[in-house]
């Protein structure tokens, strides 16, 4: 606690390795993320980007190394505990609750902020009812923030892809996270949707002071919105620098940008 308050990095990943059987998906990757920073992780497919996010959010447990959040070791927490620390995330292939309305999806994001009192909830009475309404108000502020007023009662599964991504961001924001992990938030979007999403991400960062780690393929986006770019290749970190330097980094050009240009 005190270390974090003293200004240490919010998230520290130290020499983390993740293995699936014989496959080494992450190989001693280290990464520090400061408070209110926007860090982009780039790298070719299979470089271990999503694996890194999964390790941070507790889906995979590293085989070696250490993950610390706000100065404390969090290497072996399970996802719900990670969420309780104030880490939220979105998924590469939108993982919305398809059968629920947009409103309910975002409300679910506030789960950790809600207190349970089974009997009162069963009666929808008193504090339980008040709590529902208060959180509805909080969710409405997020709906307003992300400009999705027109779809709040629509079942999430019926939305076009771009909007689903936005709703997923809304659900992550509903938890009022300190650290937001975004796995390809702009994948499959058109130019206009991408611009909107960029604006939202920057707004989130500025408005709420949320620290953001994102994986993104669109180099234009990465250069525009991130403070720092981390490049992974075959499970190793090969670069970690501000966008301007990344642009001219030879190793990165070889490993990644060259590939990207071909495709």
């Amino acid at each position: 606690m005190s270390r974090a308050e003293a200004g240490g990095p919010l998230l520290e990943v130290e020499g983390v390795s993740v293995r699936f059987g014989a496959l080494i998906a992450l190989n001693r990757v280290s990464l520090g993320v400061a408070r209110e920073e926007v860090v982009a992780i780039i790298g070719p497919n299979g470089a271990g980007k999503t694996t890194l996010l999964n390790a941070i959010s507790g889906f995979y447990h590293p085989y070696e190394g250490r993950i610390a959040f706000a100065g404390r070791d969090r290497t072996h927490l399970r996802p719900p505990d990670v969420a309780a620390l104030g880490i939220a995330r979105t998924f590469q292939n939108v993982a919305l609750f398809r059968g629920m309305s947009v409103l309910d999806n975002i409300m679910t994001g506030r789960l950790l902020k809600m207190r349970g009192s089974f009997l009162l909830e069963a009666l929808y009475w008193g504090p339980a009812r008040r709590q529902e309404l208060e959180h509805r108000a909080a969710v409405e502020r997020i709906i307003d923030f992300l400009e999705i007023q027109g779809i709040r009662k629509t079942p999430a599964g019926r939305l076009p892809y771009g909007l689903q991504k936005r709703v997923e961001l809304a659900r992550a924001l509903a938890a009022e996270p300190t650290l937001l992990l975004l796995d390809e938030p702009m994948a499959g979007m058109n130019v206009e949707e991408k611009e909107d999403m960029c604006r939202f991400i920057l707004d989130v960062n500025q408005e709420f002071g949320t620290t953001i780690v994102l994986i993104e393929h669109d180099m234009g986006v990465v250069m525009d919105i991130s403070d720092r770019v981390v490049v992974l290749d075959y499970g190793r970190k090969i670069a970690d620098a501000p966008p301007a330097e990344i642009r001219s980094d030879r190793a990165v050009l070889d490993a990644y940008l060259g590939v990207a240009h071909e495709s």
């Binding site: 699936f20 999503t50 999964n54 889906f59 998924f91 993982a95």
Partner: protein, 312 residues
């Protein structure tokens, strides 16, 4: 307290040691029963592997096959012809199921397909009984239900025949999956529908084939069980007996179905004989389940399932 511990943990083993021949008899009985379970479980696995459908109607298919066979035999049709005709009926049934149940429900959630097979279960039960009548029938396929003794161990001829047939069928199926093109396609389809298509066999065909094969397995199972305990409604309940086998062996594993069947068969017989009396008997209805469940808690992917890494 001590009595209970003794009764549960010591006495049964003392009994086993006291009469090894009886133990062997029990074990053989367990193996026979297990092979029969395997046979039914195999029907489930085949269908689940190829179409992702948990076919609850497998038990009724056994009953239906047996009813058809008995019905034909009763009308004086020779055994071989009756078997051929029954096979034809089961293949026709496979076609009908593909056309009227599976095809309209393609891409539905698994639970919906599962429900559909329960519907099918009811339909076939009513249909079979309407065609062939509901009363208990004796199925006589010419193998005497008598025992001979080998080194003090009693062996029932009928059970032995059934076990051998089951073993034979299991081997044949394994060969079918390993050696034939369509067999390989069936295995492929379980993993990846696209891949199966690239082999050049339409999904429709695969489904018909697999349901036909399951139908044939059902005939054999019906034949064996029917010969042993008569052809009646309760035949359809043997499906429920096969379910723990599936839990144990995994829904998608042919070897799992076989080994699982043996474990359940033996475990059940041994449990019934040595521990059953402690709780008043008749534990065969649930013992297998508890056995499978306990096993599953330790190893959720089943006997032969691979550990699934959840990709997120």
């Amino acid at each position: 307290m001590v009595d209970v511990v003794y009764a549960v943990l010591v006495a049964p083993f003392k009994d086993m040691a006291g009469s090894p021949a009886f133990l062997v008899e029990v074990l053989i009985g367990g193996v026979f029963a297990g092979l029969m379970y395997s046979l039914v479980a195999l029907g489930f696995v085949l269908i689940f592997k190829a179409s992702g459908v948990f076919n609850f109607a497998q038990g009724v298919m056994v009953l239906f096959a047996a009813l058809t066979l008995v019905g034909l035999l009763e009308r004086g049709v020779p055994v071989v012809l009756a078997l051929a005709l029954t096979t034809a009926v089961m293949v026709a049934l496979a076609f009908a199921i593909e056309r009227f149940v599976l095809r309209p429900l393609v891409n539905q959630e698994h639970i919906i397909l599962f429900m559909a097979t329960i519907g099918l279960n009811f339909f076939l039960e009513g249909f079979g009984e309407m065609l062939w009548g509901a009363n208990v029938k004796k199925l006589d396929i010419g193998i005497p239900d008598r025992s001979f003794v080998v080194r003090g161990v009693q062996i029932n001829e009928l059970e032995l025949t059934a076990a051998v047939t089951a073993a034979l069928l299991v081997t044949l199926l394994a060969m079918f999956f390993q050696k034939t093109r369509i067999g390989r396609a069936l295995r492929a389809v379980a993993d990846d529908h696209e891949a199966a298509l690239s082999i050049g066999i339409p999904l429709k065909t695969i489904w018909v084939v697999v349901w036909s094969v399951a139908g044939v397995v059902a005939i054999v199972a019906g034949l064996m069980w029917g010969a042993k305990s008569g052809v009646q409604f309760s035949l359809s309940l043997i499906a429920l007996k096969a379910l723990p086998v599936l839990i144990l062996g995994g829904f998608e594993s042919v070897p799992g179905a076989i080994v699982g069947g043996l474990i359940i068969g033996i475990g059940e017989k041994v449990g019934e004989v040595y521990w059953g009396p402690l709780v008043g008997g008749a534990i065969e209805n649930w013992f297998a389940y508890v056995l499978a469940l306990a096993f599953l808690l330790a190893r959720p992917q089943g006997l032969f399932g691979e550990k699934i890494i959840e990709r997120v």
